[in-house]
């Protein structure tokens, strides 16, 4: 990892904890988000990603530990922090009773922008997320993906230095996802620091410079996508699909062909640096899988290794 200790992080958390009564959603995490980078929280449902994000958004109070955002304390400087960040919550909180454009202009006013600025910004942002032709429609008429894009546009109304996106592309079709990725990439190039959560490993790999893998309220690994894959997985993976229920039995017959074998309900994963060779060796042992796939390791494999579970269930 590069040494950037001379630059103050935009977000700095030490032992950050969130509890709701008896439920401990975040159990002591350390995070540094540096200026200009895209930082990800990757983890399954209930890992504590949103709880962490809401604390970083200076909305939800910290239960224990230390948190500084833009070198300010969210407990005392909430309004000043929120004035400089953008937040796209997991659940769209758009106003269904007013128009698409009004959702942006009204929101800009909360940040103290003039009416003229709000109008100008709203039009720019509607172009940016390709919703200009929907400006006068009521939000109710928008599709789920359009609502998501509008929520992202709204989070940008105040030209934030730091943008927090909680599952920006969940529920979007592939085309809409790629549009969002492309837009987020543009923001990054403009120097905006992004913090996002996702349970899509391809999203994390595409967008994040660094990420943490969360499970059960704790960070189980941290680093760049490449570093994580190098540290926790092999170069390649050979996936074998047999008939239902056969996987356990086959696993013992091939365990010497790979560094590690994972048994999933629907397939067998052989972790090896030579995927093709492993596939051939399986064949030579007289085993006849229904399907064979050799692929590169992904963050999904890292996650499986770290937690024993798949990410998207």
């Amino acid at each position: 990892m590069q040494q950037t200790t001379d630059i103050d992080p935009l977000v700095r958390a030490r032992g950050l904890t969130k509890s709701y009564g008896h439920v401990e959603a975040v159990r002591g995490i350390d995070v540094d988000v540096r200026p200009g980078e895209t930082f990800g929280f990757l983890g399954p449902n209930g890992a504590g990603k949103s709880s962490a994000m809401r604390m970083i958004a200076a909305v939800s109070p910290v239960s224990a530990g230390e948190l500084r955002i833009l070198d300010l304390d969210p407990a005392t400087d909430g309004p000043a922090i929120r004035a400089r960040i953008g937040v796209c919550p997991q659940e769209d909180s758009l106003d269904m009773e007013i128009t698409v454009r009004e959702n942006l202009t009204v929101y800009g006013r909360y940040f103290g922008l003039s009416r003229a600025e709000c109008r100008e910004r709203a039009d720019e942002l509607l172009d940016f997320v390709q919703l200009a032709d929907k400006a006068g429609d009521s939000v109710e008429e928008l599709s789920g993906g359009m609502k998501r894009r509008l929520t992202i546009a709204r989070s940008l109304i105040n030209r934030p230095e730091l943008l927090l996106l909680d599952e920006p592309t969940t529920g979007l079709d592939p085309q809409a996802r790629h549009l969002v990725w492309e837009r987020l990439f543009r923001l990054k190039q403009q120097g905006v620091t992004l913090v996002l959560t996702t349970h899509y490993m391809d999203e994390a790999e595409q967008l994040c410079d660094r990420l943490v893998v969360m499970d059960n309220g704790v960070i189980v690994a941290a680093g760049s996508p490449q570093e994580l894959i190098a540290a926790y997985s092999t170069k390649e993976v050979t996936e074998l699909r047999f008939g239902a229920g056969e996987h356990e039995a086959v696993a013992s017959k091939v365990s010497d062909l790979a560094e590690r074998v994972e048994v999933l309900p629907d397939r067998l994963l052989l972790y090896t640096d030579e995927g093709e060779a492993a596939a051939i060796a399986v064949h030579e042992r007289g085993l006849r899988p229904i399907a064979v796939l050799v692929r590169r390791s992904t963050l999904e494999d890292v996650f499986l290794r770290l937690t024993g579970r798949t990410l998207v269930d």
Binding site: R54, V59, S60, S93, L94, E97, R115
Partner: protein
Amino acid sequence: MELVRRQFDYWATTYRRTWKGSIISSFVNPLLFLSAMGVGLGGYVDDSSGPQSLGGVSYLAFLAPGLLATTALQTAVSESSFAVYGKFKWNKVYSSMTATPLRVVDILNGNLLYVGFRLATTCAVFLIVLAAFGVAGSIAGALGALLSAVLVGMACTTPVFGYSAWIKTDAAFAVLFRLGLIPMFLFSGAFFPVDQMPDTIEWLAYLTPVWHGVELCRGFTLGSAELWPGVGHVGYLLVWIAVGWLWARTAFQRRLVEASS
């Protein structure tokens, strides 16, 4: 105050969508009630019981300020029950506001100011109708009645804000309407003097904010207001506003911040 002012455009946008309907109903409702109950029923009451029974005033003049105060009650409840609950539950307006520089108290106060505005306009229109019937009192009296109506309206608003932020399901509104709104509407002295009722009910009526509002409004339109009882009514209503506001702030805080989900 600056953070409250920033919400003006939101509330103006919301009001623009509904103002025509609300102005029309603010005219039509008093017209119907005053014609049917004030003139129709009132003529009957005045004929059968004589002018002394209501302290020498016609039933129409007795009823008019009572209706003004109960209109404030109804406006207050309609602007702070489903309207508030829905902004937590269905149309997540408050939640979206918490991600901006606005604080929870600013969000609460902005919405309360809007309700104050709705009360003022609805009651002002009501007083215009009363003036057409000749029962709005002097100009000073009508202005005093308007302020009193807004005051009693706010005394009903802040506790209902607390209630709406506190309940878990909207079924709880049935309880509020049956045990709070309807009894207060009927038994707070708007339609008949409360001393007509058994003592316990009479004393319950004195506890409600609406009875104090009715007394204030009536004192102003009839020109019979007296200083010290008036100060007592105003003070009592201010206590309701303050206690309701504290409850509302706690409930908003809990709903928007502590259990943010």
